[in-house]
């Protein structure tokens, strides 16, 4: 393959942040008409490498050559001028503008007298139709669409620039399988047109489905470049984790834990037809101490809304809720916290962590809040706690003073978890705790959830990955169209069973 000149040649790239060496001599080559997967655990440096290529971060060492010309990008605009387009995990478009504007913003066709709006409409429509997204109204406001559609609009934007290099950073983490297939069709079309595509995803099957070549990173260092067909899945996993260990086998271990003791007491949480107008309805669940309740359902079926009701983030206006045997009305999250309920949000960036504070400060936040502001947690206790949880949860870098924003997604998730664990909750609600994080961290978090339940903590587990819900939960509440339709004990339930229930029930 060396006779072909790569479109992008990143050679020996190094980037340092205060306290963290994010990249250390990493190289990456992208070829025309190929899908290249960038693989690695959380904190391996994938996002950093992408940001170096897109001009978000300046590099401290190495060279970036694009189509034979050496570049040092210092702004995203410069990278875009070199025909490099990026679609980020969090949709980076303007929610207040129309779909067509988002596709063409900054490149609107002009005529004498200003922007040629009819031409804007035509071009946007044209691109959307190329991607078989003709059903999206180009004049509609972006915020009126689901995250999945917004993501596809972001891709349409990069197609519109006629990019030579298209970077997709976790594009599938909020898409369902139909949408993923739709996206892959688009990716293949672009690949056949000669676009070099860099694909980052934690879904191994997707990577094997779509990529031709992959580069593996570990702890900010290059492990190697491989042809996808030459590298079996287990080989890839061990290269990512760096140990000859069977991660999948470890996942199985998570299952072997003590059965929850359901006989003796009243359930810790008991909801009866709990609901809120416009949010979710008919939530009837009972969770005993030490039990894991999984919430299953399609995107937008009301999983998060259920969690918010049980945490008091939204006020229920129907039904009853009993916590610890007594009837309660949760008016605010504060009253839920007082009852021993903790909620780890799905949106860790916006609702969970404070990115300008250190790991330690983020850890003690919830604990301080529960003690009240007058009784300060002493400094050495903070340090001890931070060190304890950094060790227990394997948070990397193991530096309690590192800023949260310099941590990878998986490690941020662990900090968020640890924050709630410090308060010793009786019920822990986890909304998508494993989204967008790699298999190693995922395994750790799943094991942690299991062992917490074995210790008597009640857990509500929400995930878009049904396998994960089935593997961990003791019983499963199934939601459809913002209504709870079933609560089934998890004794050998299969994905087909759940899907039949979802398909069959008429809410």
């Amino acid at each position: 393959m060396n006779e072909i000149v790569p479109v992008v040649d990143m050679n020996n790239i190094s980037i340092e942040f205060p306290g963290v060496k994010a990249l250390d001599g990493v190289s990456l080559r992208l070829f025309q008409g190929e899908v290249h997967a960038l693989m690695g655990e959380n904190g391996a440096g994938k996002s950093t490498l992408i940001k170096a290529l897109t001009g978000v971060y300046a590099i401290d060492g190495g060279t970036i050559t694009v189509m034979g010309v050496q570049h040092s990008f210092s702004t995203p605009a410069e990278a875009q001028a070199a025909r490099i387009s990026t679609v980020y995990q969090e949709v980076n478009l303007c929610p207040n503008l129309s779909v067509e504007e988002n596709i063409l913003l900054g490149r609107e066709p002009r005529r004498r007298g200003g922007i040629h709006w009819r031409e804007v409409r035509r071009k946007a429509k044209d691109v959307l139709e190329q991607l078989q997204l003709g059903h999206i109204d180009p004049g509609s406001i972006l915020s009126s669409h689901s995250i999945a559609i917004q993501q596809l609009v972001a891709i349409a934007r990069s197609v519109q620039v006629d990019a030579k290099v298209l970077i997709l950073d976790e594009p599938t983490s909020s898409l369902d399988s139909d949408e993923v297939q739709q996206l892959f069709t688009v990716i293949r079309t672009l690949r056949d047109r000669g676009v070099a595509i860099l694909f980052v995803s934690h879904f191994l099957e997707q990577v094997y489905d779509i990529s031709d070549r992959m580069t593996v990173l570990r702890n900010g260092k290059l492990v190697g470049e491989f042809m996808t067909r030459d590298l079996p899945r287990m080989g890839l996993i061990s290269k990512m984790i760096g140990k000859e260990m069977d991660a999948l086998a470890e996942l199985e271990e998570a299952e072997s834990r003590r059965e929850p003791d359901r006989s003796e007491r009243v359930p810790f949480v008991q909801a009866e037809n709990l609901g809120r107008k416009g949010s979710v309805q008919d939530v009837t669940v009972a969770i005993h101490a030490g039990e894991i309740l999984g919430l299953a359902g399609l995107l937008g079926s009301g999983r998060t809304e259920t969690a918010r009701l049980l945490f008091g983030a939204d006020r229920a206006d129907q039904g009853q809720l009993r916590i610890g045997g007594t009837a309660r009305t949760l008016r605010t999250p504060r009253s839920a916290i007082d009852q021993g309920v903790a909620f780890s949000s799905e949106n860790r960036k916006e609702e969970g962590l404070i990115s300008d504070l250190s790991v330690r400060d983020n850890l003690v936040l919830a604990m301080q809040a529960s003690k009240g502001w007058l009784r300060r947690v002493p400094g050495h206790t903070q340090d001890q706690l931070a060190e304890k949880f950094i060790r227990a949860l394997d948070i990397r870098p193991a530096n309690k003073d590192a800023l949260i924003q310099n941590l990878s997604g998986g490690n941020q998730q662990k900090v968020l978890l640890a924050r709630w664990l410090i308060t010793n909750p009786k019920l822990l609600i986890l909304d998508e705790p494993t989204r967008g994080i790699d298999i190693g961290a995922k395994t750790q978090i799943q094991k942690l959830i299991s062992s917490l339940a074995s210790d008597g903590m009640s857990i509500i587990f929400i995930s878009a990955e049904l396998e994960e819900v089935l593997r961990l939960s003791d019983h499963i509440a199934i939601l459809k169209d913002r209504r709870m339709v079933a609560d089934i004990p998890n004794d050998g339930v299969t994905m087909e069973d759940v899907m039949t229930i979802i398909a069959g029930s008429n809410a």
Binding site: P76, L93, N96, L97, L105, E108, I115, S177, L299, A464
Partner: protein, 337 residues
């Protein structure tokens, strides 16, 4: 990975998004509707209210506020704020009055005042952008600085006797019937028209909206975010200077204490006009309607005769609160659907 099938409803979705497309105009339409309702109420309650001249007087008396609100709209659309505008108006009036007294050519005076205002705004924009400081603080510093400079020029009021300025103050452009407007109205409406054009027909204008929608997104999309942010304050400074000139035409003097608190009137007009303080949503025509509403409240109070002029403030305060609540409801609705 979920293998669950989706239940897409593309048509329903299109319909929803169309509705929301219209919902975007809701706050602005509410403002225009309120203005029409108030005008109708006035017509019923007071004889003589329904003359076209009452409406035109609203424009004549508020030319400077219209121009200020236009500049403020640009700033607020990006999610920023400009507290310095009232002081810059006063500074512009002082510079104009002092130079005219010294015998300068009025055209040269106007050019210099506009240049000063724009530069003042650009400098604040640069400080905000380069040092990443809150616009609130930087423009608050600008407020004190400009007001202080007024006193450096003169503590006392300076009367303008320049023939061009007095001519502009007294000139009336006749319209059909017995109606007339002042030249300042033409200038203010031209400023509104240019602003509308810039916001909706240029890439710069769309970048202003994009920054309000999400600054980091706009940056990642490769838009000229830093330049746009600086320019927006330059525009606000320029508008303040134009407003200063218009105020001079109106008052024929320069006084250090003039236009105190005018920045708050401008912000109120923009907010009542339907622009969200968080940026990204709003129209310059809404701000024009906002100014007219503030004006008509004043007209009402003067027609009523028995009420003290402070009632204007109370009504404006109540309106402002009502509109902010309306916006809150509006943005909640968008979130739900």
């Amino acid at each position: 990975m979920s293998v669950l099938t989706r239940t897409p409803a593309p048509q329903g979705r299109t319909r929803i998004s169309r509705l929301q497309g219209k919902a975007r105009y809701a706050p602005t339409l509410a403002t225009v509707g309120l203005f029409l309702a108030m005008f109708a109420a006035g017509a019923i309650m007071y004889p003589g209210f329904l003359s076209g001249q009452v409406f035109l007087n609203l424009l004549i008396d508020n030319t400077f506020l219209i121009v200020l609100a236009v500049g403020m709209t640009f700033v607020i659309l990006t999610g920023g704020i400009d507290l310095s505008v009232g002081s810059v108006v006063a500074l512009s009036m002082m510079i104009a009055a002092a130079l005219l007294q010294a015998g300068w050519n009025p055209i040269a005076v106007i050019a210099l005042v506009l240049l000063t205002g724009a530069t003042f705004g650009l400098l604040m924009g640069l400080v905000i952008q380069v040092f990443e400081i809150q616009p609130f603080i930087v423009t608050l510093a600008g407020l004190f600085l400009a007001r202080g400079l007024c006193y450096v020029i003169s503590v006392d009021s300076i009367t303008v006797t320049d023939p061009f300025f007095t001519a502009m103050a007294q000139a009336r452009i006749p319209l059909t019937g017995n109606l007339f407007i002042a030249p300042g109205v033409v200038i203010a409406l031209v400023v509104v028209a240019i602003a509308f054009y810039v916001l909706h027909q240029t890439r710069f204008g769309r970048t202003v909206y994009a920054i309000g929608g999400g600054e980091s997104s706009a940056l990642l999309m490769g838009l000229a975010v830093p330049r746009t942010k600086v320019l927006v304050y330059g525009i606000s400074g320029l508008c303040s200077a134009i407003a200063g000139i218009l105020f001079s035409f109106y008052s024929l003097s320069g006084y250090s204490l003039a236009a105190t608190g005018l920045e708050l009137d401008a912000i109120a007009a923009v907010v009542v006009g339907g622009t969200l303080l968080t940026g990204g949503y709003g129209y310059v025509l809404g701000s024009l309607a906002g100014v007219l509403i503030l004006g008509i409240v004043q007209t009402f109070i003067s027609y009523e005769g028995t009420l003290s002029s402070w009632w204007t403030r109370i009504v404006i305060g109540a309106l402002l609160l009502a509109f902010i609540l309306l916006q809150k409801l509006f943005s909640r609705k968008v979130k739900l659907t």
